[in-house]
């Protein structure tokens, strides 16, 4: 069965490594923080100016001065630190953050990503996404394999305005884990109960399918 958003977050959490600083985007990526493997320690950076982000506050303990990049009230862990936006993006652009997880509207087989604009329709802006994808060595895209109309978001070429070029190396969807190399998607894992055929049908981009595609272990 295809994963739900929580399942996608759980699978991505398996990618975390001990000692990493991690930036989680808005939406599914935010959920990843709930599933950190117990034997490792990671720190979450939010680009509005905190390192060492903790869980949401208890009711009544919200602080308007303490939010994440999604504008949600948060808490700070012991050892946390606050800083300004220039320092925050110095961390990101200077590659001090080991992993960026973010959502996307489209990903192409050359690693291009589009997630900020639908011309004439949605003009919210790119926020920190362009800095994040242009800078990070290690980007995982978390998204649904297809859009609400059932069309593939895993494409030969992006049709929407790009957020970054050639930067995505791994995609985790509700159906599969895909890697991008040599200008193609490579099917690495499938969601529990999802067949290779279903994934092929939902994928518009060129997909390399090995003989044996293991099921995710969630």
């Amino acid at each position: 069965m295809a994963l739900d958003k929580t399942g996608i977050a759980k699978r991505i959490a398996q990618e975390l490594q001990d000692g990493w600083y991690v930036n989680l985007g808005i939406g599914i990526p935010t959920l990843v923080a709930n599933y950190i493997p117990e034997d490792i320690e990671v720190e979450f950076q939010s680009e509005n100016g905190i390192l060492g982000m903790g869980p949401f506050p208890f009711e009544g303990e919200e602080d308007a001065d303490l939010i994440n990049a999604g504008k949600q009230t948060i808490t700070a862990r012991p050892g946390a630190v606050f800083f300004d936006s220039a320092t925050s993006f110095a961390m990101i652009r200077g590659q001090h953050v080991q992993l960026t997880v973010l959502g996307a509207m489209e990903v192409a087989q050359n690693g291009d990503i589009a997630n900020w604009k639908i011309p004439g329709k949605m003009v919210k802006g790119m926020g920190g996404a362009m800095d994040l994808v242009a800078s990070a060595e290690n980007i995982i895209v978390a998204m649904m394999h297809t859009n609400k109309a059932g069309e593939s978001k895993i494409l030969k070429e992006c049709s929407l305005p790009l957020t970054g070029v050639g930067c995505v190396k791994k995609v985790v969807t509700n159906l599969a884990v895909l890697e991008i190399k040599d200008g193609q998607f490579h099917l690495v894992e499938r969601a529990p109960g999802v067949s290779v055929e279903e994934i092929i049908a939902a994928t518009e981009g060129d997909l390399v399918v090995p003989d044996n595609v293991p099921e995710m272990n969630i």
Binding site: I50, I67, T73, S85, F89, G120, G125, P161, L162
Partner: protein, 231 residues
């Protein structure tokens, strides 16, 4: 040297229609509420506002948008404001969308006398259109230029009479860089103390970057996305 002005009216003196303003804050966090209310009162128009976000419909910069006081917004993310989207799609409002890190660095550059710098952010996207591209360490970068403003308006937690500022938690965000980049910088603070009361090791924005400081009358500090967990 004393930078204290009596009130928000005196602080905002000299702000005129057609000017470029920088306004600190991220979402509604750390925005100069008192000064924004004064700008509404003053009725200045045709403003170019450099601010990471555009507020919500009935708070923050949204108030200036409602009054059609803004000609152009320079921001990274404006998704929380329906009136903004309406004015932008209808063409009433000019909008320059900039990657958040580039926006922060361009403000810092403006304050630091760095007229331009290279960054990888936005390469290959429409942000790079018309900008010089150059490779460093095998990776393409684009040339971004400094931003400055006629007035920068920032909000701090504590400030002293010399204009030294301390920010709280993530309400710091864009405020320090914008304070550097204003020809005249106005700081509204929650707490105003005599010079010497702030630890000189713990000041975030040195007073040299601030020309006017005042204690804000009220801070609503509205929360945009109240998110809690259960005990």
């Amino acid at each position: 040297m004393n930078k204290v002005v009596n009130n928000v009216e005196d602080a905002c003196k000299g702000i005129e229609s057609g000017m470029t303003l920088m306004l600190g804050g991220f979402g509604l966090c750390g925005i100069p509420e008192n000064s924004i209310a004064q700008l509404v009162k003053m009725g200045v128009k045709d403003l170019t506002c450099i601010s990471n976000n555009a507020g919500v419909d009935d708070f923050g910069l949204g108030l200036l948008l409602q009054g059609k006081q803004i000609k152009k917004m320079v921001s990274s993310y404006v998704g929380e404001n329906d009136e903004f989207e309406r004015q932008m799609l209808s063409g009433e409002l000019e909008v320059d969308l900039i990657p958040q890190g580039s926006l922060a660095e361009r403000c810092r550059a403006g304050g630091a006398g760095i007229p331009a710098f290279f960054t990888p952010a936005g390469y290959g996207t429409e942000v790079a259109e018309g900008k010089e591209v150059r490779e460093f360490n095998g990776k393409p970068h684009i040339l971004e230029t400094a931003l400055t403003a006629d007035f920068a308006i920032v909000k701090a937690w504590k400030g002293d009479t010399e204009g030294n500022l301390v920010f709280k938690a993530t309400a710091r965000n864009f405020n320090p860089m914008m304070a550097m980049a204003g020809k005249i910088t106005i700081a509204e603070v929650e707490e105003l103390v005599p010079a010497g009361e702030l630890d000189p090791n713990e000041i975030h924005t040195p007073g040299i970057f601030v020309q006017r400081i005042f204690k804000g009358e009220t801070f609503e500090k509205r929360i945009e996305q109240r998110t809690v967990r259960q005990k």
